[in-house]
Symmetry: C2
Subunit: 542 residues, 2 copies
C-alpha cells in the first residue's frame, strides 16, 4: 500500500489522465523495445516455417458471427467479442485461427496446403497480466492439411503410403530448429501416441468413457508425483485401485527406470511382460512401431537425439489429437540459472532429477519460481478437427469426413515473455531498439570557422546518402552543428546501442577521410571516404 501511495504521489496530477489513456482491459501497447524482441522471435519462427516450404494466408480480424457460432463450446462462446449491430451483418472478432482457416479452406475448396499463420486473436477471458493471460494475443500455428478423399482440384497430391510419420517428424524438426535458434535454454520434445494410450486404458480395463478425464490426470505426471495422481484417479475419477495400479505401471515405467533410454522403453512395451489380450498387444505393438518409425525419421531429419523423449504419460489435447501427440517443454533457461547452462541434461538425467517430492504445493512453488514456463509448443495429428469445421455451409446430417492434418503451435506469447526476460537479465545488445548501424557525427565547429558549419552538415548528409544506397542503416543529427559529446551519448544510449560511429571533421575531410569509431571498444581508425562503404559492409557482416 505504501508503494502504491508513493506511486500515486509520483504520478501526481497525471494520474487521472494516465488512467484515461489506458488501453482496454486485457490489452497492451508494445513499445520499440518489446517490438524489437517480438520481431526477433517472429522472424525466427517465420524463417523456419519458410525453410520447410510453408506459405502463409491472412483472414479478416472479424468474421460473420454465424461462422464462429457453435465452434467453441458453451464456455468458449461466452468469450467471443461481438461487434455492435450497426445496421449491417452481425460480426465477431476471431477467437482462434483455426475456424477462420477452416472457413478459408472451405470457401476456396483447398484440399492441400502447408500453411503457417501468426496473428492476434481475441478472447473476453478474465485477464491475468502477471501470468501473461491477455484478451488480445498472438497465436502461431503451422498446419499441413491434406484430404485423402477428394481430388477435385489440380493441386498436386504427393501423399502416399510412404508418408506415415513423415509430417510428424518434420514438425518435430521445426520445433527443434525454432527452439534451438531462439537460444532460450535447454528444452525437451515429449512424444506419445493416442493409440498407445487407448491400448493401455483397455489393458487396465478402464472404460473408454473415462478416457478424457483420466488422461487429464495422467498428464499431470510431469509435475505431480504418481502417488497424488493415483489418489485423484481413485477419489475423483472413479477408478478402482486395480485399474489405477495397472495404468500406473504403464505410465510410470519411465520414472521407475530412470536409466532407460527411448529404445529400452519401446522394448519394454513390446516385450512379453504385459498380461493383456492379444488384441490389445497388437495395438500396443502397432503404436510402438509407429513411434519407432517417427524417432527414426526425426533422427534422419537431424533432430537432436537427446531432446526427443518418448513420454508414455503425455496425454494432452485428446479432444482433437487422433494420432501422435507432442509437446515442447523448457527445462533449463539459459539465462535464469547460468551455473547450469553448460550442462546439457539428457532425458535420462531429467528422469532422475524429477519429482523428489510428493507434495503438489512444492512442485507448484518450484514451477512458480522458475518463471512458470512449462510448455512452449504442442501439436500432433488431428484428422477429425478440420473436417468438422469444413462442414460449415454444408448440409447438416452429412457424414463428417476425415481431413488428415498434422500441426504444431508455438506458445508465441510465452516465447516473447521468456525472450524479454532473457534480454533484461543479459542486458543483451542482441536486440537493440534502434535499428541504426552507423551514426554519422561531426565535430562542432567553433569560433572563427563559422562558415564550415553548413559544410559539415552537408558532408554528413552526403555520407548518409552513400550508406543508405549500400543498404546500411544510418542516421545523422538533424542539427547543423551538434556537440560531439551529445552525438556520442546518442549512440551509447542503452536502448540505441548503435555499434559504429563516423566522425566527420575538417582536418580529415581535407584528406578525403573520416574517422570510424567502434562504440564498444572506442577504437578509432581513419578511413578514406571512397572505401567507407566497403569497410563498413565488412564490419557489419554477421
Amino acid at each position: 500500500m505504501k508503494k502504491l501511495e508513493e506511486k500515486m504521489a509520483e504520478l501526481g496530477d497525471n494520474f487521472k489522465s494516465k488512467h484515461e489513456l489506458k488501453t482496454p482491459k486485457g490489452t497492451q501497447d508494445f513499445g520499440p523495445e518489446q517490438m524489437a524482441i517480438r520481431e526477433k522471435v517472429i522472424s525466427i519462427i517465420t524463417e523456419t516455417f519458410k525453410r520447410h516450404g510453408a506459405v502463409t494466408i491472412d483472414t479478416p480480424v472479424f468474421e460473420l458471427r454465424k461462422v464462429l457460432m457453435g465452434k467453441y463450446g458453451e464456455e468458449g462462446s461466452k468469450l467471443v467479442y461481438n461487434l455492435d449491430d450497426q445496421d449491417g451483418e452481425l460480426c465477431s472478432m476471431r477467437y482462434d485461427l483455426t475456424v477462420p482457416f477452416a472457413r478459408y479452406l472451405a470457401a476456396n475448396k483447398i484440399e492441400r496446403i502447408k500453411r503457417y499463420q501468426i496473428a492476434k486473436v481475441y478472447r473476453r477471458d478474465q485477464p491475468v497480466m502477471t501470468k501473461g493471460r491477455f484478451r488480445e494475443f498472438f497465436q502461431c500455428v503451422s498446419l499441413e492439411i491434406k484430404s485423402k478423399f477428394k481430388k477435385r482440384f489440380k493441386d498436386f497430391d504427393i501423399a502416399g503410403p510412404g508418408e506415415l510419420m513423415m509430417q510428424e517428424a518434420e514438425c518435430l524438426k521445426i520445433a527443434d530448429e525454432v527452439l534451438s535458434k531462439l537460444e532460450l535454454g535447454e528444452f525437451e520434445i515429449r512424444i506419445n501416441h493416442r493409440l498407445l494410450l487407448e491400448a493401455i486404458f483397455e489393458a487396465s480395463s478402464i472404460p473408454s468413457t473415462l478416457f478424457k478425464t483420466v488422461s487429464s490426470s495422467i498428464d499431470k505426471l510431469d509435475k505431480v508425483a504418481w502417488i497424488d495422481v493415483r489418489e485423484e484417479l481413485i477419489k475423483e475419477k472413479g477408478l478402482n485401485e486395480q485399474m489405477a495400479d495397472s495404468i500406473g505401471k504403464f505410465v510410470c515405467i519411465g520414472d521407475e527406470h530412470p536409466d532407460w533410454n527411448n529404445s529400452s522403453l519401446f522394448d519394454w512395451f513390446c516385450g512379453d511382460n504385459l498380461t493383456t489380450s492379444e488384441e490389445v498387444r497388437k495395438s500396443i505393438i502397432k503404436a510402438i512401431e509407429e513411434l519407432k518409425l517417427l524417432f527414426n525419421y526425426a533422427n534422419l531429419f537431424g533432430c537432436t537425439e537427446s531432446r526427443i523423449v518418448f513420454s508414455p504419460s503425455l496425454a494432452r489435447g485428446l479432444d482433437y489429437y487422433t494420432g501422435i501427440i507432442y509437446e515442447v517443454v523448457m527445462k533449463d533457461l539459459s539465462f535464469n540459472t547460468p551455473q547450469k547452462s553448460n550442462e546439457s541434461p539428457t532425458n535420462i538425467e531429467d528422469r532422475k532429477q524429477k519429482k523428489k517430492s510428493s507434495k503438489k504445493e512444492e512442485t507448484e512453488e518450484k514451477e512458480e519460481s522458475s518463471g512458470n514456463i512449462g510448455s512452449v509448443a504442442a501439436g500432433g495429428r488431428y484428422d477429425k478437427l478440420v473436417g468438422m469445421f469444413l462442414n460449415i455451409g454444408e448440409k447438416s446430417g452429412k457424414k463428417i469426413r476425415d481431413v488428415p492434418c498434422v500441426g504444431i503451435s508455438f506458445g508465441i506469447e510465452r516465447l516473447f515473455a521468456i525472450m524479454e526476460m532473457k534480454m533484461k537479465i543479459e542486458k543483451s545488445s542482441a536486440v537493440r531498439t534502434s535499428p541504426t548501424q552507423v551514426y554519422v557525427a561531426s565535430i562542432k565547429s567553433v569560433g572563427n570557422n563559422e562558415k564550415m558549419k553548413p559544410n559539415m552538415l552537408h558532408e554528413r548528409m552526403k555520407i548518409c546518402s552513400k550508406l543508405w544506397a549500400a543498404g546500411i542503416r544510418a542516421e545523422t543529427s538533424y542539427k547543423a552543428n551538434p556537440k560531439l559529446l551529445e552525438q556520442f551519448q546518442f549512440c551509447e544510449n542503452e536502448s540505441a546501442q548503435i555499434p559504429w560511429l563516423l566522425i566527420v571533421a575538417e582536418d580529415e575531410l581535407a584528406q578525403d577521410s573520416v574517422k570510424l569509431r567502434c562504440v564498444a571498444t572506442r577504437e578509432e581508425k581513419l578511413i578514406n571516404i571512397d572505401d567507407l562503404v566497403s569497410v563498413l559492409l565488412e564490419k557489419l557482416k554477421v
Copy 2:
C-alpha cells in the same frame, strides 16, 4: 446477366455454401500468392524505415471508445466500428493509426520518437471492392515527432536551428527509396509549402475563410484543366473573376512555362514581376527560401533530382499540414505501357504532356484506364495535429501546444494492388508463392530393387537436414517412392516455381553424388554430396 447465370450454374450446389462462407462485407481473405506480394511490399517499406533509424510500436486493435470519440468529425465517427457492450468497457476498433499513437505518446510521456507502423484499420465505409476501398485495410505511417516545449524526460533532444527542412528532406528520400525499390514505374514527388499557398491567397485578396475550400479546387489542377477549375472557383466557391485570375497566375505558372525547371519557378516567385504588398512578398520569399533549402537537402541525401518537382498547385491535406506538403504520384507504370518503360520523363516533359483536354470526363476516363493509380504516398509537416490528440485526458481549456511532426504515409493497399497487377502481367517469378528453394527428389525404384525404396527416402531426408542446417529452404516428397515426373511437375507448377531440384538416384549415390537440376534451363550437373551445401549457397546468392 447471362454471365451471372453461367456463373451461378457453374457454382451449382456450392452457391449457397459459398455464400455462407464469405467474409464480412468490405473484408477479404488473402491467399498465399497475395500474401507473398504483400510481404514483399511490406518488407521493402519496413527495411527502408529501418535504414533511416525508425522504430516501430504496436497498439491494440480496439481502443476505449472515449479515446476515439470526437477525433474524426461527424462523418468519421459514423464509420467507427463499435464492439458490443458485453458487460465491460465500451470499446471501438481503431479507425486510423494516428489517434492510438497519440494516446500511446501521451500515456508514456514520449516527447521524441521516430516511429513507423504498418497495421490494419477499420472503417464502416461503403466498400467499393473494384476501386480497392475496403472496410479492413492496411495503413502505413512514418512519423518523426519531437516536442520543443517540454524536456521533462531523459530522451535525447538533438533538434536545433539546423534542423529546418532536414526531416522533410529525409521523408522525400524515404519516398524516393521505397518507390525506386518497388520498381513499379516512373513516379514524381510533388512538393509545395503551405506558407506559399497562404501568401498567394493573400496576394489574390482571397479571404482566409475560403482557404480550405479554394485549396481543394486548386488541388485538382493535376487532373483538371485551369479553365474548369476557374469556373468552379467562380460559380461554386464564390471568388470573383479578378481573384480567380490572380490565383491562376500563381498556380498555373508551371503549366504556362513547361520548359522551366524548379529553379526557374523559384526565381519567378522571388522576382519583381509580382504586384503584392511588401509583407506578402516577404512571406513568398521565406517560403521559397525554405523550399530551396529542402531541394538542396534532398539533393544531398541523394534523391533523384528529376523526380523532385516544385508544384505550386499542390494543396492537399491542409486540414492538418502546417508547412511543407508533398505527394508521390505514379506517372508511368513499368508494366502497363512497356513501350514507354525506357523513357524517363522529366518533370518538364510531364508538364508538356499534361492536360491537353479541358473536359473533366475525359481526364477521369483516362485516369480510370490507367488503373486509377494517382497518389501512392503523401506527407508533410503537421505541428498542430498531435498536440490536439495529446490533450486527451488533459484538462480542457488548456492551450493546445505545438508538437513538431513530420511524416509520410504510403498508400500501401494501393501499392499492393499495383504490385499484384505487375506480377500478373509480367507473370513474374520474383514473387513465388512457395518459399522453397530446393526440392529434393528421387528416382522411383522399380521391380527388383524393392529394398532400395526406404534407402532413397532416408537419403532424401538426410539431404534435407543438411540443407536446412545451412539455412536453405528445402522440401521433399512425403511419399516413400514417388514418380520422378510428379516431382518435376511439383517444382514447375506455376505458383511454386521452385528453382532448383536435386535428384537422388542409386548409381550416383554409389559415388556419393547427386544430380543438381536447374528447373528453368533443365541443365543438370553431378555434385558430390559433401559439396552440396556450398554449391547451392553459391547458386542461391542474390
